[in-house]
């Protein structure tokens, strides 16, 4: 008993005054994922990787909108979204104080404009994703002259591609494009 008393006196106060004093976390702490709308291309990689289904992507084909949404109430702070994001649009912050009085405060949402299919006119791909891929191809060394052809091919939705086959898809494009494609 005496030993314990001695130990207790020696240790003194073991607790910290949180929340009246800030609580230090280790560097590399995995807290609230912070989302950067500017960087996001709405590719949906994070939604596919998210084990908890905290991140979801929904299409509204009537309005031509793809919406990204994270629900912090489901988030398990694993950081898979950060790992798979091709543009660094989502990163985990050291912020762990997520308590909210209303459930709505635990959501973060963003809407993206979709591009219409060149052939059928249906919405199908986020405009930003398309631009990103075209830019990436250019970076990878695709000659500038070919980029508008690629654009035309990529603006055909998967259904139309499937329906017609890639050949007919190419044929149905303006004449000049078809020829160039044939030569390439």
């Amino acid at each position: 008993m005496f030993k314990l008393l001695k130990k207790a006196l020696q240790v003194g106060e073991a607790t910290v005054e949180y929340p009246f004093k800030p609580l230090e976390v280790a560097p590399g702490f995995r807290g609230k994922p912070i989302y950067n709308f500017q960087q996001c291309i709405a590719c949906g990689a994070c939604a596919i990787a998210c084990p908890a289904n905290a991140i979801t992507m929904d299409y509204n084909l009537e309005k031509g909108i793809k919406s990204w949404k994270v629900f912090y109430g489901r988030c398990i702070f694993c950081g898979r979204c950060e790992e798979v994001c091709p543009t660094g649009a989502i990163t985990l912050s050291p912020d762990f104080e997520l308590a909210a009085t209303a459930k709505e405060d635990l959501y973060c949402k963003a809407d993206f404009r979709l591009t219409r299919c060149h052939l059928c006119g249906e919405y199908f791909v986020p405009a930003k994703e398309l631009e990103y891929i075209l830019a990436a191809l250019e970076q990878a060394g695709q000659p500038g002259s070919a980029s508008h052809i690629t654009r035309q091919v990529m603006e055909v939705c998967p259904q139309c591609k499937r329906r017609q086959g890639i050949k007919t898809a190419v044929k149905s494009l303006p004449r000049a494009v078809g020829q160039q494609q044939g030569r390439g």
């Binding site: 030993k3 314990l4 130990k7 207790a8 240790v11 908890a52 702070f77 694993c78």
Partner: protein, 575 residues
Amino acid sequence: MSFSSQMKRGKKYPDALKDKFGTAVILEETYQTPEQLTITVDRNNLPDVVTELYYGHNGWLSNMIGNDERSINGCYALYYILSMEGNQNPQDNMWVTVKTLIPENDPQFPSVTPRVPAAVWYEREVRDMFGLEPEGIPDARRLVLPDDWPDNLYPLRKDAMDYRYRPESVEEKYDFIEVEGEGIVEVPLGPLHITSDEPGHFRLFVDGEYIVDADYRLFYIHRGMEKTAENRMDYDQVNFLAERVCGICGYTHSVAYSAAVESANGIEVPLRAQYIRTILLEVERLHSHFLNLGLAAHLVGFDSGFMHFFRVREKAMKMAEILTGGRKTYGMNLVGGVRRDILKEERDQILRLITELRKELDELLDILINTPNFLMRTRGVGKLERDVARDFSPVGPNMRGSGYARDNRADHPFAAYDRVPWEVVSKDGCDVLSRELVRAGELYQAFNIIERCLQEMPPGPILVEGFSYKPYTYALGATEAPRGENVHWVMTGDNQKLYRWRARAATYNNWPSLRYMFRGNAISDAPLIVASLDPCYSCTERVTVVDVRKKNVKTVSYNELENYCRERKYSPLKL
């Protein structure tokens, strides 16, 4: 598979079976890894073969899996996994899986339980989940499914239901064991209390103050994880679900799961990743054992000791935070390795914390052991006799407190456990005290393991990628969690999802023998006995007491019982 036939172990087991039952007994022999052998037998030979391996060749039942393989071979399948141990040369230890096929039109098999009691929960579960009837099982009550679950709806059959299906609930009834006899009282403990983290219902049969027998009903919070994983998640995502099997030793589950997938697909994990896994597994053991020692102090009424154990435990939590970015060792695994490396600065911090922890633990144990109340309350209490232990295959410190030096890390070395020196801790007292001392000893071993791993970790990659999953291959993965071995079994599918995942947590193997540990003990020791199992705790928040002499039933809240355990005054039975 990429291993050569010389590497294959354990020819002696199938040979011994052929000697005893004739060569026709084994229909097929396949190796999943050099130390994992599956033998297929006819279902009528199942009890013979399992019993022979279990009692005749020092086997222990580690898992049993039911599987709906009708789309593959038209049958259901059962896999009894036996851990073959105790060989002179630990290199000869291995896993033998006894597989049997059950035709779709005749879903029954002879029960193994009458001969190997350890199989009881597994066979009850397979009956609930697949509708495969174990003929002759002594305890044919439901285990996993709620009592109001519709008959003839077997959740894990592939064609049974969508994983989101929730049947209407009706009033529950469950036939608890009835103990007749003069002066026996029944004490119900559980099942639900909104403030408690885990529900379970315990029924203690007492004669005066002493427990005559016990029965319990668990699985009130069965989450259907296996079904969810099969339906919704890809291979990597399941790591994060596996971690949530347990709130304390989650990381061991994700390692066991990854190991199973890696073994099934012949994926070689880089050595550095193996070391990191080992370190994190031991960090988890640290905080878990500190917690349990603290709880033991709490339950014998030594609350200041409890506070100090928790104060020191905080350093182990800090280690997890430094190494993984969260207070729990979560989110670190993927199939093929780990996601985060350990940097030099982090390593130095951990080594410093280990030195501090070692000193603190010395002092605290000295104080705890020299508290007369602690020894008095724990010595000779909650005995797990060696023969009961042999029959039920319990695991972890529970087992090692009864003189069996069974430890997965030594018996079937995984991760980097065969690369650093350490010792299995075991004690012979069979009581609560022995189990707590085993935990204390394991803390010191964990300090050593972490230190050695940090110092000797080789450089190199921490994750392999670019492998492919082979459809319909299966294997098991095992780890030694703070509570005992966790054994996961997976079969891959053809759609980038698991065909079957079976996660068996340590406590699953410890529950069936608890009944015997209760017997003969004072009711005030019941919470202490349950805590000494370290069953992802708190499965016991209310008790039903049945007085066999007075024939009355009384429900006692867990708080009352816990207070009684600590104070040993004001018996709730007398109020």
